[in-house]
């Protein structure tokens, strides 16, 4: 099985690391570079600063866990989504903007690929893991709304990323498509 992780920010980097023992091929897609502030809230180590995120995570998986992965340090667009996600058996969306989510969603629906999304509220109090059949991306409340770059919501990010990784695991192992809501109070299954 080939799993393509789209977006390696706080959610994507953490979830990909938690999926390292599934026995699947991991493909990592992100155009961005690791910055020093990312170390506070994302799954990158200090030595990765300056590297492309996909390449950095590929190195971490190899060096720390002996896990091979493929890295695509490019921006996913309508022009390349078929090439990047076409070989996937499962696509995982952890993008941080609605436009990119819509590109990968349109691809998945067109190609009939399983796609699971994960997203967090700006205040770090609520998260969603939802399969594409039931997912519509939300717009920001306001332009330039802050993400979790400062690390303030790192524990909650971990909770949502773990919930996403569990959803991926359930799909890989049993073909299930479980949705979940994550709050400060609990992780609640909401549908499949």
């Amino acid at each position: 099985m080939r799993i393509v992780f789209c977006g390696l920010g706080a959610l994507g980097s953490a979830a990909a690391l938690l999926c390292r023992n599934l026995g699947a091929e991991l493909a990592l897609v992100d155009f961005d570079r690791v910055e020093s502030k990312n170390v506070l809230a994302q799954g990158f180590v200090k030595q990765a600063i300056g590297r492309n995120k996909a390449e950095a995570l590929k190195l971490q998986l190899a060096n720390f866990y002996g896990i091979k992965a493929e890295a695509f340090g490019v921006r996913l667009t309508e022009a390349n989504v078929d090439a990047l996600c076409g070989p996937a058996d499962l696509v995982v969306d952890c993008f941080d903007n609605r436009a990119s989510r819509e590109v990968v969603s349109a691809f998945a629906r067109r190609a009939g690929k399983p796609l699971v999304h994960a997203a967090i509220a700006g205040d770090g109090s609520f998260g969603l893991v939802r399969w594409d059949e039931r997912f519509t991306p939300d717009a920001e409340d306001r332009e330039g709304q802050a993400t979790c770059e400062g690390g303030e919501h790192l524990p909650f990010i971990g909770l949502v990323a773990a919930t996403l990784a569990r959803a991926v695991q359930d799909h890989v192992q049993r073909g299930e498509k479980r949705d979940a809501m994550v709050t400060l109070q609990a992780v609640t299954a909401t549908g499949r």
Partner: protein, 91 residues
């Protein structure tokens, strides 16, 4: 029609059984939620002086259950992004 309205607010999520006469708008759902949270009718989610605009930027999701029922989720937005975009208002 009995539906389950799930309200997530300030990191807490709770269900409320709601009797509806057909479809209702997002605005009506938010209004109902405001009242039931203020009145203490939602288990574990009682905020007497909840602000009038508490649910303004919330999203309403509607799903049919496998058992033939309906669940409505009133939840915070999950944009998690810093890309400039236009905000559209829900009805």
């Amino acid at each position: 029609m009995m539906v389950t309205l799930n309200i997530t607010l300030q990191g807490v999520s709770a269900d409320y059984a709601l009797a509806l006469d057909g479809e209702v708008s997002d605005r009506e759902i938010k209004s109902i939620a405001l009242e039931v949270v203020r009145s203490g009718e939602v288990p574990g989610l009682h905020i007497r002086d909840l602000a009038e605009n508490a649910f303004d930027n919330y999203v309403v999701d509607r799903f049919d259950t496998e058992e033939g029922g309906r669940r409505i989720y009133l939840r915070p937005k999950v944009p998690f992004g810093a890309t400039p975009c236009r905000v559209s208002e829900t009805p």
